[in-house]
C-alpha cells in the first residue's frame, strides 16, 4: 500500500454498539469497536501497557478497557484509568494508537497506514449490508475475478459491479498476502431472496478463487 488509503474493516451492521472485534490489514492488527453512543473507532490492536489485544477487551460507554490489567482508554485513545493505581491522574502521554475512522456505504473504514495525514472521506450511497466473506486467495486473483463481472470497476478499496442478482458495492480488505476479505453490500430495497442469492454468489466466487489458487 502506498500513500494514505481508506480500507474497509467490517460491515457497519456487524459491529454492534458496545462491542469490539479484531481484524487485520496487510498484517497490521486493528481493533474496530463501537461505543455505546454508536460511534465507530479503529485503533492499533495493542494495549500500550503490555501489548495485549484491545479487541479482547470490554467497551464501557465511550471507553475501551484492556482485558489484561483493565487499563481504560477514552475515545481519543488517552488512558484514563489504571485500576492498579486508582489515585493516579494518568498523563496524556499514555495512549493507544488510532487510525482515522469513518462509516459510509454500510461499512466501517480506516485510514491507513497509522500516523498519516487524513485524506478525504469517501462519500458512498446508502447500502444494505449482505455479508462479509474471507477468501484464501491473493488480492490480484480476487480483483481479477471481480472485474470479470458486468460493469465492474475497482476504485481504491471499493469494487462496484452488477452480478446476476443486482448491483453490488464491495469493500476489499487485504488482510495478509493470500487472504482477502470482501464486505458485500447492495442497493436498499433488495428482497430477502435477493440477499440470499448474493450470499450464494459470494460463496461461488470464493470457491472459484480458492480453486484457482490451489490449481
Amino acid at each position: 500500500m502506498t500513500g494514505t488509503q481508506w480500507v474497509p474493516l467490517a460491515l457497519a451492521r456487524d459491529i454492534a454498539p458496545g462491542t469490539s472485534a479484531g481484524t487485520m490489514v496487510e498484517d497490521a492488527e486493528i481493533v474496530v469497536w463501537r461505543d455505546t453512543d454508536g460511534r465507530a473507532h479503529a485503533w492499533e490492536d495493542r494495549c500500550p501497557h503490555r501489548g495485549m489485544k484491545l479487541s479482547f477487551g470490554f467497551v464501557r460507554g465511550d471507553h475501551i478497557a484492556c482485558l489484561y490489567h483493565g487499563w481504560e482508554f477514552d475515545e481519543g485513545g488517552i488512558c484514563r484509568k489504571i485500576p492498579a493505581h486508582p489515585d493516579l491522574e494518568v498523563p496524556g502521554s499514555i495512549c493507544a494508537a488510532r487510525y482515522g475512522c469513518t462509516e459510509t456505504g454500510g461499512m466501517i473504514w480506516a485510514a491507513l497506514p497509522l500516523g498519516t495525514d487524513p485524506i478525504e472521506v469517501p462519500a458512498l450511497p446508502d447500502a444494505v449490508p449482505v455479508r462479509s466473506i474471507t477468501l484464501e486467495a491473493g488480492l490480484i486473483t480476487v480483483a481479477d475475478m471481480l472485474l470479470n463481472e458486468e460493469n465492474a470497476v475497482i476504485e481504491g478499496a471499493l469494487a462496484t459491479l452488477d452480478c446476476a442478482h443486482g448491483p453490488l458495492a464491495i469493500g476489499v480488505q487485504p488482510i495478509r498476502p493470500g487472504t482477502v476479505a470482501l464486505h458485500i453490500t447492495t442497493r436498499p430495497g433488495a428482497s430477502a431472496e435477493t440477499l440470499l442469492a448474493i450470499c450464494d454468489w459470494a460463496e461461488t466466487l470464493r470457491r472459484a478463487a480458492e480453486k484457482e489458487i490451489a490449481a
Partner: protein
C-alpha cells in the same frame, strides 16, 4: 490527592547488566516520554546505565519496572535505586 499532583518523586537509578548503550538509552527515552517522566541520562556503558528521573511516584515505579526488563538486546541483572537524590 491524585498521585500525579503529589510532589514529584525524584530518583537515581543504576541498572547493571549486559547493556547496549544506544539501545538502552533509546528505550529509556521512549519509556520516559510515554510515562511523562523527566529523564537525565548520566552515564551509560556496556555494564551499567545511570539515570536520574523525576515524575509522578507511581510512574517512576513503573519506569523502574520497565527498565528492569529493558530492551530485548539488553539483560538487566541488578537495579540500584536512590530516592530524593
Amino acid at each position: 490527592m491524585p498521585a500525579s499532583r503529589r510532589p514529584a518523586s525524584r530518583a537515581t537509578f543504576t541498572f547493571f547488566g549486559q547493556i547496549r548503550p544506544d539501545s538502552f538509552a533509546e528505550f529509556a527515552a521512549h519509556r520516559a516520554a510515554r510515562l511523562s517522566i523527566a529523564l537525565d541520562t548520566i552515564a551509560v556503558d556496556a555494564t551499567a546505565a545511570r539515570l536520574r528521573v523525576a515524575g509522578a511516584p507511581d510512574l517512576v515505579d513503573a519506569f523502574e519496572m520497565a527498565l528492569s526488563l529493558g530492551p530485548a538486546d539488553c539483560l538487566v541483572r541488578e537495579v540500584e535505586r536512590n530516592d530524593n537524590d
